[in-house]
Symmetry: C2
Subunit: 354 residues, 2 copies
Amino acid sequence: MEERVIFTNAPGEEIDSIAGEAGATQIFVIADTNTEALCLPLLRDQSTAVATARVLTVSPGDANKNIDTATALWRALGNAGATRRSMVVNLGGGMVSDLGGFVASTFKRGMRYINVPTTLLGAVDAAVGGKTGINFGGLKNEIGVFGHPEATIVGTCFFGTLPLVELQSGYGEILKHALLSGPEALSEVLGSNVADISADTMLRLLRDSIQLKMRIVESDPTERGPRKALNFGHTVGHAFEAIAIERGTPVPHGYAVARGCVVEMILSHMQLAMPTAPLYRVAAYVKENYGAQPLSCDDYPQLMQLMRHDKKNASADAINFTLLKNPGEPVTDCTAPATDIETALDIYRDIMGA
Amino acid sequence: MEERVIFTNAPGEEIDSIAGEAGATQIFVIADTNTEALCLPLLRDQSTAVATARVLTVSPGDANKNIDTATALWRALGNAGATRRSMVVNLGGGMVSDLGGFVASTFKRGMRYINVPTTLLGAVDAAVGGKTGINFGGLKNEIGVFGHPEATIVGTCFFGTLPLVELQSGYGEILKHALLSGPEALSEVLGSNVADISADTMLRLLRDSIQLKMRIVESDPTERGPRKALNFGHTVGHAFEAIAIERGTPVPHGYAVARGCVVEMILSHMQLAMPTAPLYRVAAYVKENYGAQPLSCDDYPQLMQLMRHDKKNASADAINFTLLKNPGEPVTDCTAPATDIETALDIYRDIMGA
């Protein structure tokens, strides 16, 4: 199923036209309190459908991407008389599109929905690819489905409201896509940084990054094969993210992924003889722009435990990775013994000064 | 996506072969306390995979097909180290396959599962067609997805453990399928009753009934078009079922459907000039075998309210029906004004002595 991604700085107009085409009888906007305040007014000006929509607001933050919030949204949709011919607009970052996509995909066995990512991370990561989900039992996206948004509308018009740390986080996923794409994309991404990137360059990088992701996703919608490449950096990254949440010092997703990419490049060198030159370039870039994950060897047992629970694992014992032979040459379904992973973490701490 | 339905009286052997083919690393059986006691021992004798499986048991009954039970199952799967390469066997009636299918379809965004219906109703209704779901907010199957079981294994070997009322309930769905199929199937179904049907006849009726359903489902997997035909009898039937649950006097699903078929045949006569002869034949059969739904005109407002919430409705105002021009000639997407529906309920009460 081909995904429809529209690049525009007038997302509201596109919503009206998609809602009209689809014969949507009622529009619901799912937003968090931030996007309700900062992004909804702009969208309302651009769209009749949004101006007359019922807005369902959730508290922001990944910690609220849980079954209680999903339950509250199901209840609100039911109480408002939503039907299968209503349509949901997910206005927010990855938290909103993951949660809203899950709620829409499961309400009455599936309402239609549109993703309007308001963050760079949301645009490049969560809003494309059909994944939806909520956190459960301490694990990220443990419960969810592969959904099918009617469309994802990507633009930079909401990015002006974002703090630098959010842009930096999104750029972490762009870096990951560049590592999957090849040396040319990698050089371009390492040659810029989000603090002083031009709007034009950002839009180009974003489009390249999303299109790379779409090519991979379309070849494998339910993640049984090549799509696992997109998991590069995420086995370790998710564990970094989870451990930080547990300690009450959460790190932005893209920061955890950028750091996870470094650890997994080290593993790639150990297991697949990936050359060290790109590893050191990426490590230096990540160190400068993202810093190191605070880490000691006392954390290893818990990190290993978290990686063992990663949903991409083929079995409960093995830890699954996508590794790189070279930038642009991912190898999926690699496994690594615990000792190698711990060695890679040791080397990471050395290189990064963690 | 073509569904795999296997008719056999040795379901355990099929499970072993499917689990082997699929490379399932771990098997989980979801059962209720009844099927755990009455059906699991037989399946264990037939299947190595089941004999070594972890069994997750839920309390029986539609009232437990809810988000709390789903949450408990997600938690149990997580704690037991289930992965996407594990496989779930749903051993039970419609409650177990709806719930277990929903849990498996959403755990880590989708584990594989096999349905082994242990009731006639489960075999003919819930286990085939990919629908999964839980009740929510007082509405049946309000939350769910269209899932894809690896296979559904249908046999009569578990039916010997069923009370007559359960068999009768399943036969209500067979009656509905016969009404969609045509005069010949209808005559055959009205010519038998489950109290003294032979095993051979039952298996033949069951196979015909499931195959009719599969033909319709395959033409329309997400229920946007012809599949709505299967909803015949269910707009009223679900309302009968819901009102009975609220009053603490639940009726078996197939009883509610059989009675709903009579009301919707009356509406079919009013709106589409369906002949009265089949209506009176079916009404007599339903009256004799299922009795009438206890009903007074004081119940009408609540019934209308329940029908308005039915997830098949195109909008919050209109009530959607599948009606019949004749047996075998369903017309989907009919709507009826409230006055006609109330008239049909009046006539129903007259005919049935309700």
